[in-house]
Symmetry: C2
Subunit: 221 residues, 2 copies
DNA sequence: AAACATTTGTCCGTATGTATA
DNA sequence: ATATACATACGGACAAATGTT
């Protein structure tokens, strides 16, 4: 009789980690709205744990910029306004441009193939009008390049920014129709520049691939 | 009789904040060495507080990448090796290049003057052979540009990287003679590009101003 | 193999500080 | 101005997990 035995797969999340992941999801998807007050005792009861792991999770969310803790007063979900998009995307673009530059000089043929595969699935998702799946494929394409750059700081900062961008889309857009076919073509151009070992071109295209949606989003709102 | 009454100046740091600042200092200056085990109970006694604020401080330091927490096993000071410098500086340079680009289009004449003043004091410190003061003046110059870019993500990420770079210098260099006079000239060139409202040039020089010391440091070690 | 020592994780009670009636 | 309610900050004890004897 086969025993599941995947004890160490998600390595048994601690209460703190579960609380962190759940509260973060609630903030991103709008269940917890901007400026809404967070009371640790309430969250503790809602998640079936004590206040300690909740407080640790809120501390992490504060560092990430999703929560504001006013000692002795209140803890609230950080407010958001549309101009945040003008602060988020340039940093995101710079980080990914750097990651692209680094990855271009490290990438292996089989990893290039994986990027092509991800971009193909990205294109399919757009054609099949599945905006959420398209967004995820787009993220996977970008995240693979970031991972391949093998730089913990880039990946860490990138994850933080990506979380805020995701929240922004959830709060301001009903649908997530942010992916366009021109993005597929830019991805292809990035891959081509990587194949030609041209880090300058690759990173320049990557930057545009992220700054263009910023402008489109900003006009849209 | 005049009462000091500076209650809100440092706004009375919490135990968590004091613990965080102190442990961080100990890690940066090498009092707590790489791979050294950190026992929260010991730190709690040493700092005269309970384990709770210590654990919160360690959590923050873990996010910052200065500490590794292995649940149930141990908490240790993160190890460091000289190749870290090749990961830190490119990210630092990208962030400061972006900050420079943004600040160039926002900066006011009086703020330009302040940059000139900081660079003059930076030059003096080098001439007077005061390497630590020179490092601080250099940091103030860069940090002012970052602050003026008015982007919370840039300043937050920049602070994290700067902390690691500082630790690197403490661990691998006895003296902090990392500032050279060519850096003063590059700062002057950045200021000049800003005065001419040339963000491309300003950010390019800024990038070089940070990548050059990276290569010098790497060769030195 | 099992009991033990050690360290982190969690719970809950209390103190402190703030805002409001 | 005082007291009261309420939320966060902190403390101390217990539980859980890991490695060892």
């Amino acid at each position: 009789m086969p025993i599941p035995s995947d004890f160490s797969s998600p390595s048994r999340m601690s209460a703190k980690e579960r609380a962190y992941a759940q509260i973060q999801r609630w903030i991103i998807d709008g269940t917890l709205q901007p400026k809404e007050q967070l009371i640790d005792a309430e969250l503790a009861e809602a998640l079936g744990v004590s206040r300690t792991p909740i407080r640790e999770a809120l501390l992490l969310l504060e560092v990430q910029g999703l929560v504001e803790v006013h000692p002795g007063k209140a803890t609230i979900v950080k407010d958001i306004d549309k101009d945040d998009i003008l602060k988020l995307y340039p940093v995101f673009a710079s980080l990914h441009a750097l990651a692209t530059e680094i990855t271009t000089s490290l990438i292996l043929p089989e990893q290039i193939e994986k990027l092509k595969m991800l971009n193909a699935r990205f294109a399919e998702s757009i054609e099949n009008k599945q905006p959420y799946q398209a967004m995820e494929m787009d993220e996977q394409f970008h995240n693979l390049i970031v991972e391949l750059s093998d730089n913990l700081y880039i990946s860490s900062f990138s994850t933080t920014i990506q979380t805020h961008i995701r929240r922004f889309k959830y709060v301001f857009l009903k649908q997530h129709e942010t992916s366009t076919y021109s993005s597929v073509q830019e991805h292809a151009a990035i891959i081509e520049a990587m194949e030609q070992s041209d880090p300058i071109s690759a990173s320049a295209i990557m930057k545009q691939n992220l700054l263009r949606p910023m402008n489109e989003l900003y006009k849209l709102i």
